[in-house]
Point group: C2
Chain length 455, copies 2
């Protein structure tokens, strides 16, 4: 009956000790994943453009921006972190509601922690609570909310950022109710922006606006008391059907974070089984790409609806080509950010394999599956059936695979020693005295990490 208050009370009263060990560990996995995505996306034109447009309006430049040399005020830094961490569509996914919640929540937290000294365990706790707040609000309105056209990452992320920053700055219950209300009344983000920079703007603005909501509430700026469940509140207004019981049920016991998933490849998830299977063939048989004469895919019919582009010249188009996915897996044994550049799409070896790949829709193949047959010049046929795609909830990336994903992105921006230091810092984040160290170490040309601050 009073879900905003229930959620606010939980966030305010939670203690670090209340959080189960497996949830803490999953939080670290989410943080290393999203932090790597932010570094990987930090040089993207969307970030550069946003800094060019809004940087001149920055307040006192007390905050670092992940992966960038520019400094901004913490609110603008939140925006930029949100853009960079989502812009390659490489961040995490919560299968319950298909949100990418780590981006808005962590983006505000990293900005805050780079401008204010924050202990690692406080940071991780705030992340877990912000993630849970956002995801539960998402569960209330999913799927009607997403189906009508809301980009749920943007619309619920603002609740998560407000909750996380509100926890760190010590809001009381009344202030947290206002912070959630002010989050709800700023909730925005249209799926019509997909395919433009506007998509990554959503988690960025959510991070920034959630952070601002917490600051306003702390100062005594009031909102409606029932921002989530009220008759003209977020749930009613943005979803034709809704289930408010999702806020309070087993709160503090069940954690959506436990079901978070991490993309192994920076493209639409329906291509993942093909890339995964192609990499497995590459690793097992090491076929010479020049020896490949045909690649035959049997895929879920949806794959051909979404990712049927064959004649492509741009990296971005590669993300919508299952043929390109097969080719990079077979030729390079990888499907990282560098396999989705213009260079990779126009690489002659990749282009050749892509062009001799065919795909057939098969209703007996699920969206997590693929059957691949590679025919070689000598007549041999290499086959692979992927039953559960790497990265889905039944076959999660291992911690070491997350390291590798982080490394693969971060080395584009940072020297190798800084990258390895950051990987260690991420796994030890709950032991840090000062999480701002992560942001500082992510800045190109920054001094090497000060190890002694790991307590």
């Amino acid at each position: 009956m009073n879900e905003t208050k229930t959620l606010a009370s939980y966030i305010v009263s939670n203690r670090w000790e209340d959080i189960p060990a497996d949830v803490r560990h999953e939080a670290k996995r989410s943080i290393i994943n999203v932090f790597g995505c932010a570094i990987g996306g930090s040089a993207h034109q969307a970030v550069t453009t946003a800094i060019r447009a809004l940087g001149p309006f920055s307040g006192e430049r007390t905050a670092g921006v992940i992966g960038r040399v520019e400094r901004l005020d913490p609110l603008h830094a939140s925006l930029m972190n949100g853009i960079s961490s989502h812009v390659e569509d490489y961040d995490d996914t919560t299968p319950k509601n298909y949100s990418h919640t780590s981006s808005p929540v962590s983006s505000a937290l990293f900005a805050y922690a780079s401008a204010n000294r924050v202990r690692g365990r406080d940071f991780v706790e705030a992340f877990i609570l912000g993630f849970e707040a956002a995801s539960r609000v998402g569960n209330v309105v999913y799927p009607a909310h997403y189906d009508v056209g809301w980009h749920i990452t943007g619309t619920i992320g603002v609740f998560g950022a407000a909750a996380a920053i509100g926890k760190l700055i010590g809001l009381n219950e009344q202030q947290m109710i206002w912070a959630l209300g002010l989050a709800g009344t700023q909730s925005a983000g249209l799926r019509e922006m997909f395919g433009s920079m506007g998509k990554a703007f959503h988690p960025g603005r959510s991070a920034q606006n959630g952070y601002a909501a917490a600051l306003l509430a702390q100062a005594g700026f009031t909102s409606g008391e029932r921002g989530i469940e009220g008759p003209r509140g977020f749930a009613h207004v943005t979803a034709a059907t809704r289930d408010l019981s999702k806020i309070g049920t087993r709160l503090g016991v069940d954690f959506d974070l436990r079901e978070n998933t991490y993309k192994p490849f920076p493209c639409g998830i329906v291509n993942h089984p093909t890339i995964d299977g192609a990499i497995q063939i590459h690793d097992a048989d090491r076929p010479d790409p020049a020896s490949i004469v045909a690649v035959r895919l049997r895929v879920a019919p949806l794959v051909l609806d979404l990712c049927n582009q064959q004649n492509i010249t741009k990296g971005l188009q590669g993300k919508f080509s299952v043929y390109h996915g097969a080719a990079v897996g077979l030729v390079r044994g990888k499907g990282g950010l560098r396999e989705y550049t213009d260079e990779a799409v126009n690489d002659p070896a990749i282009k050749r394999v892509r062009e001799l790949t065919t795909a057939t829709g098969d209703p007996s193949i699920t969206e997590d599956q693929v059957k691949i047959e590679v025919e070689l010049r000598d007549g041999r046929r290499l086959t692979k059936f992927v039953e559960q795609s790497l990265g889905n909830i039944h076959r999660p990336l291992t911690d070491r695979q997350l390291d590798e994903k982080f490394r693969d992105q971060a080395v584009m921006v940072l020297p190798a020693d800084a990258v390895e230091s950051l990987i260690q810092l991420c796994w030890n984040i709950d032991e840090l005295d000062d999480v701002g160290q992560l942001v500082r170490t992510s800045v190109p040309g920054a001094a090497p990490v000060e190890r002694e601050t790991v307590s």
Copy 2:
């Protein structure tokens, strides 16, 4: 079929000469009205609180804030102007869609013009185009959008601010399409905030976010091309039913601004006939308040649903009391901001008349009407039937009544000579070389207006 492009093209290509004289005049009426509301609301706790919370994050303080001594960057100044101009619920109303559009549009424009030199006619043109853009987007989604719970002033205001600022900074058509798209994807504001500071936050944030949308678009930050009409765009996502033809029909010929209305009293519009009629009795008969023994109202039944509070002690409660409206009209012959303070509500003479006032719902009385009967100690009965309430579209405030409304608010903040100068400046705004002069003159303790800059 491509309404975003249609609207963008219109805004970009319009010239001052294309705007009919009566529309220019109505723009001035809207500007003097909303500027006065911003001055009147500038000392409100909501503004002070927002400045306390977010002022420390201000960028270079190049902009003035209407009615305040603090300076902020233009984006934050837009937010504060939006809060102050709407916080007393005293701004304008467009009866077609019940939005209060001048607040978000003018708030961004005043902030921009206080930090950048803007000619008056450019300012007025941008205001007219921003108002029209917002109101037409509102017409597309009204009434389903409002009925489900969106605060339409917030949700459409962001389009208006983006259009207005985009016009002033000279966006081309493609950039204006992106600005409108980035506006749409930030569109927000829940009616659940009514009764809290969150309500006035909506036009403020709309002004700020629309302004930012224009800056981002100018820098090349892309959005979806069909932010308004796309299958996952603003209209589809936020309204169960919609009429996209409202964007393009007679664009540049019909202007919603022509139908803008201005509240004579800072409270819910259903109380207006009663206050109006009570003031007419006061002015005609000058009854001694102490001689009043009964006041009997016949009102539309909705009035008793919304404004039936009788035992009140706070100024804010007075806004929801038709009895208080009758009392201030009869006792003071006025219903301005000062009649809705705690002091006024507790004024013994007003309290006495309020407590002997009764009201009867009568389905034959429209929401624009009232029948008032005042019984005096000597047995006389003063009666008044108000057929069209002052301020509605059939009985608009005159220019001189707008002056009086402005004066009544501005004298709470500014010396009388500055107030009179501002009234003159507003009526001559299209002749000014530098509209920033208005904002500067609105600052308490500011130097007197430099008359020579009126060209």
